[in-house]
Amino acid sequence: MNSLTNRRQLLKNAGAGFGSLAFASLLAQEGMLQAGEGLDPLAPKKPHFGGKATSVIWLFINGGPSQVDTWDYKPELEKMDGKELKGFDKNTGFFAGSVGPLMKSPFEFTPRGECGKMVSSLFPKLGEHVDKMAFIHSGFTESNNHSPALFMMNSGQPRMGLPCLGSWVTYGLGSESRDLPAFVVMSDPLDRGLPKGHAANWGAGFLPSVYQGTWLKPKGDPIENLNRPTHMNSEQQQRQLALLQELNQQHQKSAGELELEARIKSFELAYRMQNAAPEAFALDSEPQHIRELYGLDEKRCQHFGRQCLTARRMVERGVRFVQIYSGGMENQRSWDGHNDIYGNHSQFAGETDIPIAGLLTDLDQRGLLEDTLVIWGGEFGRLPLSQKSNKPGRDHNPHCFTTWMAGGGIRGGVTHGESDEIGHHAAVDRVHVNDLHATILHQLGFDHEKLTYAYNGRRFRLTDVGGEVISSIVG
């Protein structure tokens, strides 16, 4: 056991149970409690083999970040700037009527870190961390349209209704945290909308709904029903719960059902959650140097900084899977730079550069990065051509995008796969979305072909009939 596990354990147990007297009898029946736990769908479970990662923070770069303007340096594209791309299929992107010529990146690339990775000027801070990252430049997907591509990236198929990665992971591993939801999702807090497809992106599909992502409301109380009714004080609620447990216990004595026992226990857990969860969201307790690290005092990035810091606090408390969406819905409200790619990406990179760099630094300094897998990527990439507009933009590109991962046993400073010379198609060591998922599951200790769920006559899996672990980036 490393110190990290101990710290997590400590934090987990910090919330105090209610009505300890009422529970005296309950605790005396330890055997029953244990048995009741077997019915808990969120009880921690062991994966297929010892995984390197135990939690995931997925920074969803919503709208489709442009690979050639971020991490995939394409000197050839510079040379071909302004030229027509012969044989280009106008229906590749979303707007067949506004296809422009090839367009070089408006951003400058410089070598960063010890590995010398060429990184765009969009990421002055994040560029410092390239030695922690494994880049995949040869990703491709199956849809050129936001919501199917989002579903693809989240659930492995471009359709609505399948369980997402976070649900599969929660189903497979259960929850380490008894006080917080196992799988949380944060969306844009600046009123720019939800990712396209809304809650279906973190839905459990046919898995029991307990595995769906808990969406933290960007305003007000992040989780439903966490606050005691306003008309009563803590003592009064405890009296209620003590009576409830007493009556349920009496009933249970005659019924003797494990499920009923589990339900009695769930009230204890709920009470602990009510006390502990607000603490987990209380960022004010963080010291100034941490606030600065995440950019909480900078106007343009404080909203995302708060979400990154919340993510760290969640992971620290045993939350299994955290997903944060950068940007809201589409066009100028997210990384969907149809118009003015320069302005669009400058804005959204500006919102996230410091916070993500801060998150990586902070996870690293706390020893959390070892077993926390951090993922950066969107639902597809963007075309190396310009999209005609007042200020040129770039249209969707399902054929090529870049994803990076860090921590959780991923090798740092490496690159897997290549796009073609202009960043239009994934060319070398192509990586399907199923492969990305297989790799993530692998880091968590799962054989993606064996993590299955039987539903309507079929054993479903996240990777459907595909998926291959990207062995070059797993440590």
Binding site: D40, P41, N91, F94, A96, N144, N145, H146, S147, P148, M160, G161, P181, K196, H198, A199, A200, G203, A204, G205, F206, P208, S209, V210, E224, N225, L226, N227, R228, P229, H231, M232, N233, Q236, R239, Q240, L241, L243, L244, E246, L247, N248, Q250, H251, Q252, A255, E257, E259, L260, A262, R263, S266, F267, A270, Y271, Q274, A454, N456, G457, R458
Partner: protein, 1041 residues
């Protein structure tokens, strides 16, 4: 079979189906001696010449992408079958072949169309090939499922338990007096086989509470409990099955299986506003005990089988209830449509047949005998089926009846009125009145309405209709800008003023009088023209503008560009009369002064042209045009005469009374005669009571109606493609020929062909293909089709929901991957019973609810748990958490706030007070309180819900504002004068029993302490509410006893 024929058979099999086909064709005669030689030569010719020619010139329209004229030449068998116009290839007289005459251009339509004739050499080869017997070396298309490795459905496949015919079973003989009906011996026998015995029967109060929760999903009130104790179990079962709440509870189970929701899903998640009718259909069908086969038939093809039945139309909502991505790029159009077809076919499969048909989309089913070929043929039944919103007459028959009755009674009233008018004494008296009193009685009004000839807008979206009070009402969606033109005449001889009354109406925002989003209008320009003699043929020369020189109004928005004079100023587009800032929602009038008095005659025609260009949609919603010959008519609303009265008054003055004038004046006279007034009133009232058709918009799944529009229409989404194709690996880019519609071979008995279930459409029926009607016939046919499996699946669902576990534990999967039945004979018995009872679902409920099996208590013993921990042999009723809807509805009922209104649109308001089934199901906004208790996401068919126990549920009972309010409502209804009395009542109402001594004591003590802790005058009230909330959290409250 001797060696020789065996060899031949092998040869035939290995050599392609063409030989067996040829064999069939010449069944009666012996095979010609040169047969083999000819076939060989023909095959070579085909391979080298004919095949490439067919593929290049013919296949696309005849079997490749389409099947034009019903002719498919992708296989030899189909070629020989011919098309709509009969035989295409004549093997007996090869040169007479229709095919040859078409490609030789001897006959119309020439083939290939719009192309030069094929080379003569090729034409000769075609003739030669047909002469040689038109053999194929292999089909032109490797149609799916035709390959040597593809799945064949065999008799042994049909021998799987679920596909076997139902067996006639009698309950086993058991030595026991435990059984109460036929179900019990089946159960008891298995219990005994497994060393188990049934649990004791529940006590009466528990039984009644269980029955209420199970059948109607609400706890019994103390009065209902008392009533239940007084009547027999069977009588109570009947009462509850007859309750309208039964449908509200049990419909929800089917809605899970039907993946029912009221929005498209995906990114826009547009509402399907008229989808709720399907939910209402399910509730009504269950309440009416609609036979299950009809229930299924209507959901598949109600629009074809009973198009005049509103419920049948609503039922088709089933097919279109799945998700659909409304934002599509061109590349996704076809695959999205195939996904939609898959959703329909897969849901029919799982919900109705317990078969995972959808698994055969990319390859033959891995486990069940469903070849990929069957999949596409099954899917093809839905090829042209789309979602539409149509007006449905809710009660067509009833309406016609009512209308006929009304006509009779109305005619009688009219005739009485007419008889009065024709009475001699009345006529005499009227004539007297005309001479003596008429002139004084009909005092002329200062304003006379324009007698309207026509009124129109230059924008098609607007319809202008004249109303009874002479006003004109605009309807339709208001265009951005428009011009109204009104023509008419007047009985005045001189016109000095023209008045426009701008009138309010409920059809407009804030009642108008304008159509803008704030109720305003802006009359940018008003023009008046006159044609002195309307009968004149020289229109051009006779229309003259009438000059208006000033104006006044009851209200104007300002004194500048929105004043009344702005309507007649030089600027005809940007300034005009508007009435905001005090004038909205009220009638207004504007009076325009003619530059000079205008002399007109009866033959003159006037035109009033109103331009509304100031602002978007700022046209008038209701208005009236009047004229005046007075010197100073009032500037206000009203004081006008309709044109008829104006004319009559003029005639009276001039002494030239015509019939129409007399009629008009008679109404003035008769208004003073009580007898007439009464008769007239009766007619008026009767008119007001004329029955109106009750049309309502319904979302249907049908063919030939306009599709429900959505986002992707903007890019030209076609909604459907005329043909369904076999696809390789489910990929629309890899088509393998047109898939004709068909059914599943494994469920088709005695080798019946599709034609057996063919339903002939009524004469003249064109709108739909009737493929779904055929499918419905096959699905519900127990003799040769899928009906027996349909019955098994239905019965098992009912059992599953009564016991928490089906006889088949996987209600959506009766295939090889599903669980086999624990009591196969019982399943067959009940299925048979369903069919023989006329597919009555309520009969199955009755059977189950009256069984000793269902009446067992829930108690578990370690011994029994050890033998059968999952209770698969049904030695008890497994206690289980009530479903989300019952949990909520129970609290709501106890709060006293339950609104029992049934049917109609649902709502997304979490705090609504109707039963939970009336929540609108919007895929992106599912109800948290439903989800937390495992209501499934409506994405694909769900046969059984998980039942989870998680902390957020406990948090809901502890902290949810709605729960707190319900508890307060519950407490309000309790007697608060004495704590013990309140607790007694609370237990009776919430749990259907009295508290025991220790419970009573704990509760009373809680009330004392809690009330004291509040320490104010509301302490007792709050404490009781807190106690009610505790009771909501009890296991006993939310578990089926």
């Amino acid at each position: 079979m001797n060696r020789c024929t065996l060899l031949f058979a092998l040869l035939a099999c290995s050599h392609l189906s063409l030989i067996s086909a040829a064999q069939q064709a010449s069944e009666s005669k012996p095979i010609a001696p040169d047969h083999i030689v000819k076939m060989k030569a023909g095959t070579e010719l085909f391979r080298d010449v004919i095949r490439p020619a067919l593929v290049e010139n013919c296949l696309k329209c005849h079997g490749g992408e389409k099947v034009r004229s019903g002719f498919d030449l992708s296989t030899r068998k189909l070629l020989l079958q011919g098309g709509d116009s009969g035989e295409v290839v004549d093997l007996k007289v090869p040169d007479d072949s229709y095919l040859l005459s078409l490609i030789r251009h001897d006959d119309e339509p020439v083939m290939p169309p719009a192309q030069d004739k094929l080379p003569d050499k090729l034409l000769a080869d075609f003739a030669k090939w047909i002469e040689l017997g038109a053999p194929y070396d292999k089909p032109l298309l490797e149609k799916i499922g035709d390959g040597p490795k593809s799945m064949r459905v065999t008799e042994s496949d049909r021998d799987f338990w679920a596909f076997r015919p139902l067996t006639e079973v009698a309950p086993p003989i058991v030595e026991s007096n435990w059984p109460k009906n036929e179900i019990d011996p089946f159960i008891l026998a298995k219990l005994q086989d497994n060393g188990l015995s049934p649990n004791p029967q529940i006590d009466d109060r528990t039984r009644i509470r269980r029955l209420y929760l199970d059948v109607i999903g609400l706890p019994p009130t103390p009065e209902q409990m008392q009533h239940g104790l007084e009547i027999s179990h069977a009588a109570l079962v009947d009462e509850l099955l007859d309750s309208p709440h039964y449908g509200e509870r049990w419909a929800r189970h089917w809605l899970d299986a039907a993946r029912f929701a009221e929005s498209h899903g995906f990114e826009q998640d547009y509402d399907r506003k008229f989808a709720y009718h399907y939910r209402d259909f399910v509730i009504k069908a269950l309440n009416n005990d609609m036979p299950w086969d009809q229930f299924v038939r209507w959901q598949i093809a109600g629009d074809e089988l009973a198009p005049n039945e509103p419920l049948a139309m609503m039922a088709t909502g089933f097919l279109g209830a799945g998700v659909f991505p409304t934002q599509l790029t061109e590349k996704e159009f076809e695959s999205a449509r195939y996904d939609e077809l898959d959703d329909m076919a897969a849901t029919v499969g799982t919900a109705m047949l317990g078969l995972t048909i959808g698994c055969a989309r990319c390859h033959d089913h891995k486990f069940d005998p469903i070849p990929v070929r069957d999949y596409y043929r099954f899917v093809a039944n839905f090829t042209t089926t789309i979602r539409s919103e149509v007006d449905v007459e809710l009660d067509a028959v009833g309406f016609q009846k009512k209308l006929a009755a009304w006509r009779d009674s109305h005619a009688l009233k009219e005739s009485k009125l007419a008889a009065y008018r024709n009475r001699n004494d009345i006529e005499t008296s009227f004539e007297n009145w005309l001479k003596t009193e008429a002139a004084a009685s009909v005092s002329a009004q200062p304003w006379s309405m324009l007698a309207i000839a026509f009124a129109t807008s230059d924008q098609a979206a607007t319809t202008l209709t004249e109303q009874e009070d002479g006003a004109i009402l605009a309807s339709g969606s208001a265009p951005a800008k428009e011009i109204y033109t009104i023509r008419g005449s007047s009985s005045l001889r001189q016109i000095r003023f023209l008045r426009i009354e701008a009138l309010t109406h409920t059809s407009m925002k804030r009642n108008g009088p304008g159509r803008a989003s704030n109720g305003n209008f802006a009359l940018s320009n008003l023009e008046v023209l006159v044609k002195p003699d309307a009968s004149s043929a020289h229109e051009k020369s006779t229309w003259k503008p009438v000059k208006l020189n000033s104006a006044r109004a009851t209200h104007q928005q300002n004194t500048k560009h929105l004043s009344v004079e702005a309507a007649i100023d030089q600027d005809t587009a940007n300034t005009g009369w508007a009435v905001d800032f005090g004038g909205i929602g009220k009638d207004q009038a504007a009076v325009f002064v003619l530059d000079a008095p205008l002399e007109i005659s009866n033959e003159s025609e006037l035109e009033v042209r109103m331009t509304f260009y100031n602002n978007s949609q700022h046209s008038l919603g209701r208005f009236r045009v009047s004229l005046s010959d007075r010197s100073d008519p009032p500037v206000r609303v009203g004081d006008s005469q309709d044109p008829g009265m104006s004319a009559a008054i003029a005639a009276l003055e001039s002494g030239d009374l015509q019939d129409e004038h007399r009629t008009t004046l008679f109404s003035v006279y008769a208004a003073t005669q009580p007898e007439y007034v009464a008769l007239h009133k009766a007619v008026e009232q009767s008119l007001a009571e004329k029955p109106q058709p009750k049309k309502t918009k319904v979302q249907v799944s049908s063919e030939g109606f306009p599709p429900t529009k959505h986002h992707a229409d903007g890019r030209g989404f076609p909604h459907f493609y005329p043909e369904t194709h076999f696809l390789s690996r489910g990929d629309p880019n890899q088509k393998l020929g047109v898939a004709p519609s068909g059914f599943l071979q494994v469920l088709t008995k005695s080798g019946k062909a599709e034609e057996y279930w063919k339903q002939v459409p009524p004469e003249g029926w064109k709108r739909t293909s009737f493929r779904r009607a055929n499918l419905a016939n096959w699905l519900t046919d127990p003799e040769y089709g899928a009906g027996e499996l349909l019955a098994r699946v239905a019965v098992n669902r009912i059992w599953h929901h009564h016991f928490g576990r089906g006889i088949v534990a996987t209600p959506n999967d009766f295939g090889l991957q599903g669980k086999p039945p624990t009591h196969p004979e019982l399943l067959d018995f009940l299925s048979q019973y369903l069919i023989t009872s006329g597919w009555s679902v309520k009969q199955i409920h009755r059977k189950i609810l009256l069984s000793a099996t269902w009446l067992q208590n829930t108690t578990a013993t370690a011994e029994k748990l050890k033998i059968d921990p999952e209770n698969q042999w049904f030695w008890r009723l497994t206690p289980r958490r009530l479903e989300a809807e019952i949990v909520r509805d129970s609290m709501l009922a106890l709060s006293g706030q339950l609104d029992e209104k049934m049917f109609g649109p649902g709502t997304l308001k979490p705090d609504q007070s109707r039963r939970s089934i009336y929540f609108m199901i919007k895929r992106s906004r599912l109800m948290p309180m439903m989800q937390i208790f495992d209501q499934p996401e409506p994405l694909s068919s769900q046969g059984s819900r998980p039942s989870t126990t998680i902390a957020p549920q406990a948090l809901l009972f502890m902290n949810n504002g709605q729960v707190v309010r319900w508890a307060a409502g519950f407490a309000q209804s309790l007697d608060r004068t004495d704590a013990a009395v309140a607790v007694q009542e609370l237990y009776q109402r919430a749990l259907g029993r009295a508290p025991n001594e220790s419970e009573l004591q704990s509760n009373v003590e809680f009330l004392r302490q809690q009330a004291a802790s509040y320490g104010n005058d509301r302490g007792q009230e709050l404490a009781l509410a807190d106690l009610c909330q505790v009771i909501f959290g009890l296991n006993e409250f939310i578990y089926l006893p």
